[in-house]
Amino acid sequence: MKLYPTTALLFVALSALQACGGDSSDAGAPDAASVTATRSVALLTSGPVSDAGWHAGAYEGLRWIGDSLGFRISHQQTRTPAEFDEAFISYAEAGYGLIFGHGFEYQDAASRAAEQYPDVTFVISSGSRPSANVVPLIFHLNEATYLAGMAAAAVSRAGVLGMVGGVEIPSAKGTFVAFEAGVRAVNPDATVLETFIGNWDDVSAAKEAAAAQLRQGADVLIHNVDAASFGFFQAVREAREGGREAWAFGMNRNQNDVAPDVIVGSAVIHIPAMFLRAARAWGAGTLSDEVLYSGIAAGAVDFVLNPAREGVIPDDVLAAIDRARAEIVAGTLQVPRIEFVEGEGGAGPEDPGVQGDPLPS
């Protein structure tokens, strides 16, 4: 097919526009000459960083790295696996020494790029295959959603709870498995509904999925979608406006201020702190080739109550949650999880527990 120059030009111009985000630091292709290999950090996300959740946390972490370590930073949003490879290679070629791939979906592309660029370190959030220069960064968010599940069961009057997810990847599924276990720890007879919307940013689909669960009798919902969570919270808000007692739980980031009127608490990953720690270790040359595990004990994950909704959860349940948290930290309570690191086996008692130094909060 013959392409008219005008069309081609338009295409190139618009694609370039898509590649830039809203911040000048992400703009354009990295420039090889001005980048030194030891001090440049790049981040790839598969969704918009304006989701006030999973991706936003990573972007914040990148900025922390730039601000407090003085490293040069760059971010790109890449949506398709072909773009993952492309972006890894162009960053590696441009001399970026540490590249974060923020999500399970980056593992394969990172493994390929890592063989090609042995001097570059790849840190993959929720990754599954460590190698010499690929470091999976595993957040045990399930520990926090277990506690959220206990709280949710205590708040629910109907005994019916709902979970709205994006795509059933191990990191998302794991949070739901643990949430359900937490619910049953408090109310063994509860019904727990589960819906996946098939992507992470269809706001109206997330709203309808939540609305369908509310119609089905659920009165406390948790999500694991990114930007689409805005619609999820709206469904709960409308149910409340319609005179029902309904509550929501936030995920990935402290979302208590995202919808303070409906959120009881959030299962939080301190992604920025974990990114900063990984980057600092990399800068000092101490980032190992092992999996970085980080749960409540390492201060990387926690369940945070919304101060605006105090009093919703009965005191005895709050005490039980605190006990469970202490048991998780002590290693006596094994929260169910989905394994994503290959060869790790099922949710057994031999938690590798390779915890780093506790984080200063």
Partner: protein
């Protein structure tokens, strides 16, 4: 909850999901009837969602619907400027407009509200209950207790049917889509007709986007159009390029989507991708069996004038 109440709330959800599809698809029907397939419709939808959100924040939710429609129309104008005026390939140009719009709206959103985002809480356009009609059992609350965007969609169906098939202008528009050469010979300004039809399609898609942000969800998120522009193009084919058919197809699709969320919430123990695929599987079945074969306008996607045609077959 009684079965009747469950059915009623299912219908409310079905119509709610169908309205944005119907708006965008009715607009696209006009543009395709004039011979322009606007793959950039998705871009108009996301611009409409953002334009609506910004308009609602500065003026108010109703004004937001207008600014959303306008933003969608502008995106379509860019597309039409290239694809109709300059005769570039419609599919490639439309794809470029869609990709560019998804990125550009994200950049605007982030520069206005900060890079890491916030759950924008927009004042929504309230539903307006039609007296008498809204009391029809089952169908009343679903169809006649909606926001103004739904009534606009209903009104457009007979209006467009009349315009396309009963007026001189409608005939000229369809002629531009069936046989631009003949239309040109008969004195129809093909380029201007196609420009106007495409921009009208963009206005409607923009309104669909504004419906998403200002009626349905009361917020904006990047990429929230989530393929609805593309689904609308499929809905046009499913509805055989006729306003009534397109409206019915949009309802059908909205119903299938509402059904799949209801089924997932029923806790059926089946893999969820099966449910997600349900609307598309039903559409395929309907496309194969419904009303027999469908025929696209003869001149669809062909640039005009002829000397600017980009043909894969140079001998033609």
């Amino acid at each position: 909850m009684t079965d009747l109440a469950a059915l009623s709330s299912f219908l409310v959800a079905a119509v709610g999901l169908a309205v944005p599809l119907a708006l965008a698809a009715l607009g696209e029907t006009v543009s395709e009837r004039s011979g322009v397939i606007n793959i950039g419709l998705e871009g108009s939808v996301i611009w409409g969602a953002l334009g609506g959100a910004l308009g609602a924040l500065t003026v108010g939710p109703h004004a937001g619907l207008a600014t959303g429609a306008l933003a969608g129309g502008l995106a379509a104008l860019v597309f039409a400027g290239f694809a109709v005026r300059l005769g570039t390939d419609q599919i490639i140009t439309g794809t470029a407009v869609t990709i560019g719009s998804l990125g550009f709206t994200g950049a605007v959103f982030q520069s206005r509200f900060g890079a890491t985002g916030l759950a924008l809480e927009l004042q929504t356009v309230p539903a307006w209950e039609v007296p008498v009609l809204s009391r029809i059992p089952l169908l009343g609350p679903a169809f006649f207790d909606q926001a103004i965007t739904a009534y606009l969609a209903y009104a457009m169906v007979p209006l467009l049917g009349w315009f396309l098939f009963r007026t001189r202008w409608g005939l000229a528009l369809r002629a531009a889509g069936e046989s631009p050469e003949a239309a040109h010979a008969a004195g129809v300004p093909v380029v201007r007709t196609r420009m106007l039809a495409t921009v009208f399609g963009g206005l409607m898609a923009g309104l669909a986007g504004a419906h998403l942000s200002l009626v349905h969800t009361g917020t904006f998120a990047e990429n929230m159009s989530a393929g609805k522009g593309f689904i609308a193009i499929a809905v046009v084919v499913l509805g055989r390029w006729r306003p009534w058919g397109v409206f019915a197809a949009a309802l059908f699709f909205g119903g299938a989507e509402a059904l799949q969320f209801t089924l997932q919430a029923l806790d059926a123990d089946l893999p969820y991708p099966l449910f997600l695929a349900l609307p598309y599987v039903l559409s395929l079945a309907a496309l194969a069996g419904w009303f027999g074969r469908s025929r696209a306008p003869e001149g669809l996607a062909l640039p005009w004038p002829r000397w600017r045609r980009i043909s894969t077959n140079p001998k033609k």
